[in-house]
């Protein structure tokens, strides 16, 4: 079921921006994904010039699908998520390029949320796309009762009010697992625990049966024991109410559990995306591999947990070429082999197509750091039907783990 629409893309390079432009309207009407972000570029005007924390991001969410957007803090996930409902203050934020198509109604062309008028946008916000934020402590208005805040949403989008809306609010609170909802509906946010507040946030988001729920790190601010419950709740609600879920997280464990499809983001760009099972079983970007190695495994005996050296660069100092190359293990390995002349020999023996002779290697390194003639950053390449990766040296990536699944490199 996951990401069938990917099949129609071009054979080699899957630049989704081109793809949507080529498509005629009928495609969009009939099989368009629910949400289709194309080439989204967001910049911020600062005192020291313009920075671009999100660049050329393409992302799709199909109906009834759960999509995860993964990356370390500060890589642009939240900005991407907030752009969808135009929640970024402009200025200083600027939507430089791109479209965010949303298939609002069946049988009509999708609308571009970045260009639509305020009124339509308000109908979409809360009514068709709902959002749950990271910190339930600050995301609920402290001076209104929980019930009032849910009822407000219902009144805005469903045209019912008074006792009917209140009854719906109580029902919603019950549905998200809040005990004694008849009493809690009149509670103020500060009278509830963090987990309860997040449940109330989710109840508020669900109140108008949205087609898409965007959850921006919904569990990060909560206790570990509560995180689990909230995730289960999100999962069950997504299945029950046939909606799509876009989950922003930095936790690959969460992704494995809940997502059908996953996008990996680094320094403002999508570096790898694909069907969750494929990406997690066979990550082909050194960054994804690094993230996976950082997930603690219970049944593994080794004491030390891996880390990715360095930190995410700030948008004002993104590296040229592949933005991950200063931290990239593969680049380091290629550099070492260039210096010593033997580091990569075994790899090259195995794969005759890779340009592994000594003269070619400095060129490879240049590519990591500077890019080639067409672009500086590596484009997303199709590995197989449901797996894309943006790495200049994707041929040289060693598959993770001990299983001999070389499908990625062979594809």
């Amino acid at each position: 079921m996951a990401a069938q629409f990917m099949d129609s893309s071009k054979p080699q390079i899957a630049n989704e921006h081109d793809l949507t432009e080529d498509m005629d309207v009928s495609y969009r009407v009939e099989q368009a994904p629910l949400l289709d972000i194309c080439g989204l570029t967001v910049s911020i005007e600062t005192q020291d010039g313009v920075i671009t924390p999100v660049e050329d991001v393409a992302l799709r969410v199909a109906r009834k699908q759960t999509v995860a957007l993964v990356g370390e803090s500060g890589c642009g996930k939240s900005i991407t998520a907030q752009s969808i409902l135009r929640l970024l203050p402009q200025p200083p934020f600027r939507m430089e390029k791109g479209e965010i198509f949303f298939a609002r109604l069946k049988d009509t062309p999708a609308i571009d949320l970045l260009k639509t008028n305020e009124r339509t946008l308000r109908e979409v916000r809360g009514g068709q796309i709902a959002m749950v934020f990271q910190d339930p402590m600050t995301s609920l208005n402290p001076v209104f009762r929980i019930g009032e805040q849910i009822v407000e949403t219902i009144e805005l989008h469903q045209g019912v009010s008074g006792q009917i809306a209140r009854a719906q609010a109580i029902e919603l609170l019950r549905r998200v697992g809040i005990a004694k909802p008849e009493q809690r509906v009149d509670a103020y946010p500060h009278e509830l625990s963090g987990g309860m507040r997040q449940r109330a946030m989710i109840a508020m988001a669900l109140s108008c049966h949205p087609k898409l729920l965007i959850a921006d790190e919904p569990t990060t601010a909560l206790d570990v024991t509560i995180q689990r419950q909230i995730l289960d709740l999100l999962r069950s609600i997504q299945i029950e109410s046939n909606m799509s879920l876009l989950l922003i997280t930095h936790n690959l464990g969460v992704v494995a559990e809940i997502a059908d499809y996953v996008y990996v983001m680094y320094a403002g760009r999508i570096v790898e995306h694909g069907d969750t099972t494929q990406v997690l079983a066979n990550p082909m970007h050194p960054y994804t591999q690094g993230l996976l190695r950082c997930v603690p495994k219970i049944n593994e005996k080794s004491g030390r947990l891996d880390t990715i050296p360095g930190t995410v660069p700030s948008p004002s100092s993104f590296p040229t070429g592949c933005r991950f190359h200063p931290r990239c293990e593969l680049t380091a390995r290629l550099a070492a082999s260039t210096a010593s002349g033997d580091g990569i020999s075994r790899d090259s023996d195995r794969d005759s197509r890779s340009p592994s002779n000594l003269e070619a290697q400095p060129a490879c390194l240049r590519r990591c750091a500077l890019g080639d003639e067409t672009s500086t950053a590596p484009p997303l390449r199709k590995l197989n039907t449901d797996h894309y990766v943006a790495c200049w040296e994707s041929e040289n990536v060693t598959p993770l783990g001990n299983s001999a699944s070389n499908a990625g490199t062979a594809g």
């Binding site: 970024l88 203050p89 200083p92 934020f93």
Partner: protein, 338 residues
């Protein structure tokens, strides 16, 4: 060794100045204010001689004009050694009737200019007084803590409960005699000092609260903890970490006390207990103008010039203070959605 504590907010004067500079109104106010102040200071030797030159015969409430109404001889002792006035004095003489004349025929120009400086002195004196008392009171309360803190702040609460005007008047009335005695009957200076002590004596309350709040919140900051953890002494922490970080807010509030004090002085002048005649101050001139105009509507210049300059002075000082506050507290510049 304690200098490199992490997360210490940079009390960088440079970035504050950069933020202040972007506030165009504040910058404009500062420029205008400095320009006017320089003018008043440079003309002070002249206006000190001319501010009380009366011409009851020819210039009583004469209108503003570009030509001097009062002849040159009235301002200069032409019989003496310096029979020929300097070029600068001649230029300044051309301005004597620019703002018109008051009911004693005195040049309003040369009452407004020194009056501006007198008001500024009262404002600065009161602000200095308020800053010293408020800073000491607030920081002692914060550092002592416990019962002393409670009592000291309770006193401030009670003082806030007193009518402001009554306090100023009582202080002014009460202080006049002893302070005049101290200055050996020099009423002119004693009067000014009484004024700013009285005004400063009621203006330190807000400042003491601000300082106490700042010191208390700073003591909880991680970088102070860090300094303490590295073994820095109490005094060292105060000097190196607390003091530099409270200077900004104190300076801002002190700046905002200046216009308040000038306002208070104008109010006291309106009551008739401000600076004593014939010393001019902006408040005194404005209050006199208001009374004159209420009685005789025609003499608009008596109210327009002093009031305009008083209002512009206060406005400029308030803009500067506000700009400084925004610069010191950058949080208020974060973007919002709506």
């Amino acid at each position: 060794m304690t200098r490199k504590c992490s997360a210490e907010p940079s009390h960088a004067v440079h970035s504050n100045w950069r933020r202040f500079r972007r506030n165009r109104m504040a910058l404009l106010s500062l420029a205008g204010f400095v320009f006017f102040m320089l003018g008043a200071i440079f003309s002070l030797p002249t206006s000190a001689r001319w501010y009380n030159v009366q011409a009851t015969d020819i210039a009583v409430r004469s209108q503003p004009s570009l030509d001097p109404v009062v002849p040159l001889e009235r301002f200069f002792d032409t019989s003496g050694a310096n029979a020929i006035p300097s070029r600068l004095d001649q230029i300044l003489y051309r301005m004597t009737s620019l703002f018109g004349h008051d009911d004693l025929g005195r040049s309003l120009t040369y009452r407004v200019l020194p009056g501006f400086l007198v008001s500024l002195c009262i404002g600065l004196g009161a602000a200095l007084m308020a800053t010293i008392v408020g800073t000491l009171w607030g920081s002692i309360a914060a550092l002592a803590g416990g019962r002393i803190d409670a009592v000291m702040m309770r006193i401030v609460d009670v003082l806030f409960g007193l009518p402001y005007i009554l306090m100023v008047i009582l202080l002014k009335v009460g202080l006049t005699e002893p302070l005049t005695a101290i200055f050996g009957g020099q009423t002119k200076y004693a009067d000014l000092i009484v004024l700013f002590v009285a005004i400063g004596g009621v203006s330190w309350l807000t400042l003491s609260r601000v300082v106490r709040g700042q010191v208390l919140s700073l003591r909880e900051q991680p970088f102070i903890e860090a300094a303490r953890a590295t073994g820095a002494g109490h005094w060292h922490i105060l000097r190196k970490h607390v003091f530099p970080n409270v200077v900004g807010p104190i300076a801002v509030y002190a700046t905002l006390v200046i216009p308040q004090a000038i306002m208070q002085e104008s109010f006291l002048s309106f009551l008739g207990i401000g600076v004593q005649q014939p010393i001019p101050s902006l408040g005194r001139l404005a209050a006199d103008g208001v009374e004159a105009v209420n009685a005789f509507v025609g003499y608009w210049w008596l109210i327009v010039f002093p009031c305009t300059i008083l209002v512009f002075t206060l406005l400029a000082l308030n803009f500067i203070g506000d700009g400084l506050r925004d610069a010191v507290d950058p949080k208020s510049n974060a973007p919002t959605l709506v």
